[in-house]
Amino acid sequence: MSALVACLFATPLAYLAVRGLTEGGTLAAWTSGATVVPLARTLLLGVSVATASAVLGTALAWLVARTDLPGRRAARLLLPLPLVMPSFIAAFALVAAFAPGGLLAGLLEPVGVARLPAFEGFWGALYVLTLFTYPYVYLPVAARLGQLPASLEESARLLGRGPAAVFRTVVAPQAAGAVWAGTLLVFLYTISDFGAVQLLRYQTLTSSIYASRVFDRSGALAQSLLLGLLAVAVVAAERSATRGAGPGRLAAGARSLRVPLGRWRAAAVALVAGVVGLALVAPVGVLAFWAVRGLAAGSTRAGALVSDAGELALPAAHTAAMAVLAALVAVAAVLPVAYLTVRHASRLAGAANAVIVGGFALPGLVVALALAFWTLQAPWPLAALYQTEALLVFAYVVHFGSQALRASQVAVAGVPSRLDDAARTLGAGRLRRLRTVDLPLATPGLLAGAGLVLLSTMKELPATLLLAPPGFETLATRIWNATEDAYLADASLAALFLLALSGVLTWFLVVRRGNAPT
């Protein structure tokens, strides 16, 4: 089962290897300055964004899951949402907001602020990508913390430790697995991001791949393969570093603990409000500004969204259907691998783990071309799937399966094996144990994983454009179409709609159900 899953997930890497062999020039491309310099920038940005997101995401998760933070419910809904912003429109909006001469500068001018600092390059990319990716850490860590027994923390508090000390000595070690899992996803997202880095003018490996994709194809293929191998190497290193981590502790049904923030309350509220403000309110504000301006001006153009927003209904239905399907299939597909890696650390499981994670580091364009290549090579029943919704869902699963995998691994690791053993002693079969012990306890974590896949799928663009059946529109393709022509109002309307839809789906499928047990 795991072997089959691994083979399916290996299709993009296998494509790159086959293409690399037929086109040649792989080694030459790897050692050329045109690869080495952007690769160094990719690594620098990846490590920096991963570190920043790990800190921010963990802090936010702890505040929401474990403290008496005012407005927790709102924060719980709002904090995952920056993940759904397609970076090509959100980065565009943030540049328009914060760059010199932009909207913020216009607002500040009357107050005497003459010129804002440049909003670009490494720092601009670090800022924007951290704001868009911290939910990768926030979601699994919040899910994990929601399940931790409160007893240890309570003891620590009774011994007179403050919130910070409790966090450091008790919470952090327990949540480490989830933090690692999320941080790895942030790293992979960052190294494969193209939309944000290109708009912020920071040239990474994906910029080189983009520039050479048609007219220096062997170079682009070699650089893509390098991204994939980088992901595999990082996963291998992570696994050997975290091997031997103890089994999770868990007391299901234990009432959760709320640490009173006391004098830290204002600072905590400021942090959460600041993050929501910069990652969500600022880009949404810009989009709303463009949308309202466009709605006020109206349009005579046929098919303009500002005159007929009903055009969004079908793309929205497509987006929701694909995202829910991809999320469900992804979790179901990676669950066996998650079990195998956590419960029986076999070589096969390690390999499956690596190829699944590798799919996330590859540009969506590569995933799409790889699936086109393999599907068209395949015999009849499979070849007939080309440019169908089924293949598109498969592409999303291959591309984003790692997000479900990491969350599932954390969830499965959180189920104490002694419960399983006890059930076995009582004569429960494998399936029954899975149903009555493992799945209920792992559900919040699995939902978090499904939520990540859901949100990523909703905004996915390059693979959707190439693999969707002709005429099949999603909100992301709509946004892209409008952005290409600089129809800012139309793009903004569609983006706001995408955000609202994501909010609703996140609420119903992830937040509400994930919280049910606590």
């Binding site: 983009y210 050479s212 259907a321 364009l365 089924a390 149903r435 390059p462 600089a486």
Partner: protein, 335 residues
């Protein structure tokens, strides 16, 4: 697992069911690098007039070209519409494009179609220098793009080196000014510290904010920004007649070699070149109609008066590998 697997099984069934009703096998399938906003209404009109059903896949021209190459003779596509001759030339070079009818080709001046009859231009875009009128006056702008290497433009020019239109422009420059002169110009531009951007949109947006004073783009982007943000200080400056900087580049239409609907495809190309469709391009997108006798949109100079330099448009397709290499070795960021 049972409940979960039921859900998954249902989901897969749903996906397969959806798949069945996805595309229409008898429809004319178009891969379009031109966006839906622009081409969608024309497709509907063609469908109404002829009754020919259309399936369309929108995407980035270069990426669709890569997909078409991957699909080879199994492609479902019949027609490929591209933003630029570069992606089309790539496909022609790989033998993926079929021969077009002589009467389709005959509607467009030889300057804007392929010599082997593999593609035809359907609208024209001119290269211009977009500038911020609050930072520079038009009188201070050069007559030739070659002069942008001067000291007074140091750090002030925006370029999108990975963009197809910029690459087309460099290819034309190689042909008109020669390989050495082009290399010298590119290196002098790099030495003049240009600001590199992702694409034309990003340049016009940055110029209108005043982040950079001017930038090399296609002419129609600024019209679009003017419509969305009235009062923005971005303006187009056209280089002198015959200057390589004032190049007019066609967007293209072609028919796939493996298409089994060549007759319908041919009718569609005819339709794109009718006076009405050409007028639509001009009025809706401020692009230049390429069919003789169709006037450009009000506010635009007529195509005949543009004096785009005389160049062999086919070189835009064939010579791009070398162009990309030249741009890269000149030291531009982001290529």
């Amino acid at each position: 697992m049972s409940r979960k697997s039921t859900v998954v099984a249902l989901a897969l069934l749903l996906a397969l069911a959806l798949a069945g009703c996805g595309s229409d096998r008898d429809a004319l399938t178009i891969y379009s690098g031109r966006t839906q906003n622009l081409i969608g209404p024309l497709l509907e009109k063609f469908n109404k007039e002829t009754g020919i059903a259309i399936d369309v896949k929108y995407g980035d021209s270069a990426e669709l070209a890569l997909l078409l190459d991957e699909e080879g003779d199994r492609t479902p596509a019949d027609v490929f519409l591209s933003q630029s001759p570069g992606a089309t030339g790539f496909l022609a070079g790989k033998g993926h494009l079929g021969q077009l009818d002589a009467d389709v080709l005959g509607k467009v001046d030889t300057r804007f179609r392929n010599g082997d009859g593999r593609w035809v231009g359907i609208s024209g875009r001119q290269r211009v220098l977009v500038y911020n009128s609050e930072q520079v006056t038009e009188a201070g702008l050069p007559d030739s793009v070659l002069d942008l290497t001067g000291d007074r433009f140091a750090g002030k020019v925006a370029i999108a080196p990975a963009n197809g239109s910029f690459q087309d422009f460099v290819t034309a420059m190689r042909q008109l000014e020669g390989e050495d002169a082009t290399q010298t110009w590119l290196k002098a531009m790099v030495a003049n510290k240009p600001r590199t951007y992702a694409n034309n949109n990003a340049i016009v947006e940055a110029v209108s904010r005043g982040e950079v004073a001017m930038g090399l783009v296609n002419h129609y982007y600024n019209y679009r920004f003017q419509q969305e943000s009235p009062g923005t200080p971005s303006r187009n400056h056209t280089f002198a007649d015959g200057d390589v900087g004032a190049l007019v580049i066609p967007s293209t239409a072609s028919v796939l070699a493996g298409s089994d609907k060549t007759e319908e495809a041919s009718r569609f190309l005819h339709f794109l070149l009718t006076e009405e469709s050409q007028r639509y391009f001009s009025d809706q997108t401020f692009e230049y109609p390429l069919v003789a006798g169709v006037p450009a949109a009000s506010g635009l100079p007529p195509l005949a008066s543009l004096h785009s330099p005389d160049y062999d448009v086919d070189a835009l397709g064939g010579g791009l590998e070398r162009t990309v290499e030249l741009i890269r070795t000149s030291g531009f960021d982001g290529v």
